[in-house]
Symmetry: C2
Subunit: 90 residues, 2 copies
């Protein structure tokens, strides 16, 4: 889920990601980036909002970047999926 | 769905919102703001990405702001929901 201050948001319960982010900040990170694709984008926004409203008031959203990635399906067909990258920092 | 250059993204098919945004730009708007809450946030990002990648290449994402709103349930209980506001502009 997390490597060198990036937390990938998938389909788990949102509090898993909130915990991952708060743990990284408590271990000394100055910046944590949340990354998500497709429907998990809403959960990434939830995570950012819960972290800064309820757990780490001194952390703020410093940047939000969206994009589009091409993904390959099981039969080799390609489709586009939206992505988001939310940078949280002190 | 749309009033004075704001498009509210809900649970309809994403192309409804893509059409609403492109129509506003074609009618002369310089800026259109996509607003969504909760799970529709992913669809708002999809809308922005489809508009700028496939329909209006000269339009770009100028700002993305997230927030939290308190909403009241049927029995009067309150809960928080994340919000997003995506500003598209030429």
């Amino acid at each position: 889920m997390a490597d060198n201050n990036v937390v990938y948001v998938g389909n788990k319960e949102v509090m898993n990601y909130v915990l991952a982010v708060t743990t990284q900040f408590n271990e000394g990170s100055e910046e944590v980036v949340l990354k998500a694709r497709g429907r998990a984008i809403s959960r990434a926004v939830d995570t950012a909002e819960i972290v800064r409203n309820r757990f780490l008031p001194d952390v703020d959203i410093q940047d939000i970047v969206t994009g589009t990635e091409e993904i390959e399906g099981e039969e080799g067909e390609t489709s586009n999926v939206s992505t988001i990258s939310i940078t949280l920092g002190k």
